[in-house]
Assembly symmetry: C2
Homo-oligomer: 114 residues x 2
DNA sequence: CGTAATACATCGTATCGCGAAGTATAGTAT
DNA sequence: ATACTATACTTCGCGATACGATGTATTACG
């Protein structure tokens, strides 16, 4: 997949990966892998960025002798996901512009989003 | 709209704007405006990039005393649009991961893509 | 005993969108 | 007449970002 296309999804995917339950770096990468791949350096950069933006909080815990940093989504993080959902409508409109699909008689677009 | 989300669309939108008939910078911006906005500096950078990548060809013509550079899409440019269409399926899959939509019983996804 | 997997961190690089500023002409308003 | 707006293209530099390379440290496995 085109790298530029990935850019807008990475951050929100990381948030989605911790939305249901707290998670840690290595697990996030594995959970995201079927959908979108990212390197460790990218992930930890994103996590740091999201923490600075107060979209997640961090808690360090020991797990079998190793340290793990568990990430927890904040209300701001959930808001970010909601904003992505509204952006999706715009994305669809642009997609149709590119593919020259007729936008006027689209009735059933449920699978694409709200 | 999120800037990062825009990134993957800009290039392919410019190609879409010249796909039906040759166009020039200023007109491309105006045609794209209802869907996605971009500054002149961005556009001309993209046009140069697409030209280098052989996705479009350029022809200079005079129009009412002023010079215009008309851009014409090449087969490589059309291929780029086709690749975007296939990428869209992946995008949808990621969208559903983020929104936790059930991917298993999606039958009618016509309005979203091919 | 070495290799792979787990787990996190940092640095430098390349790409890219965009604001700012510049050049030039044609049409419109004051 | 003069100023402003629209048209049309160009270049520079900044900031954001993804990622490969590299490093550190522990556990598990053969």
């Amino acid at each position: 997949m085109d790298i530029q296309l990935k850019r807008g999804l990475l951050e929100v995917c990381v948030l989605a990966a911790i939305a249901d339950e707290d998670s840690y770096g290595y697990k996030i990468i594995k959970d995201m892998k079927p959908y979108i791949e990212l390197s460790e350096s990218t992930l930890y950069t994103i996590l740091k960025r999201l923490e600075t933006a107060d979209m997640l909080s961090v808690r360090t815990a020991e797990h079998e002798g190793r340290l793990r940093k568990y990430y927890h989504i904040t209300p701001a993080g959930r808001k970010r996901i909601e904003e992505f959902k509204s952006d999706w409508a715009e994305m669809l409109s642009i997609y149709r512009f590119v593919t020259k699909e007729d936008e006027s008689h689209v009735e059933n677009n449920i699978p694409c989003g709200p």
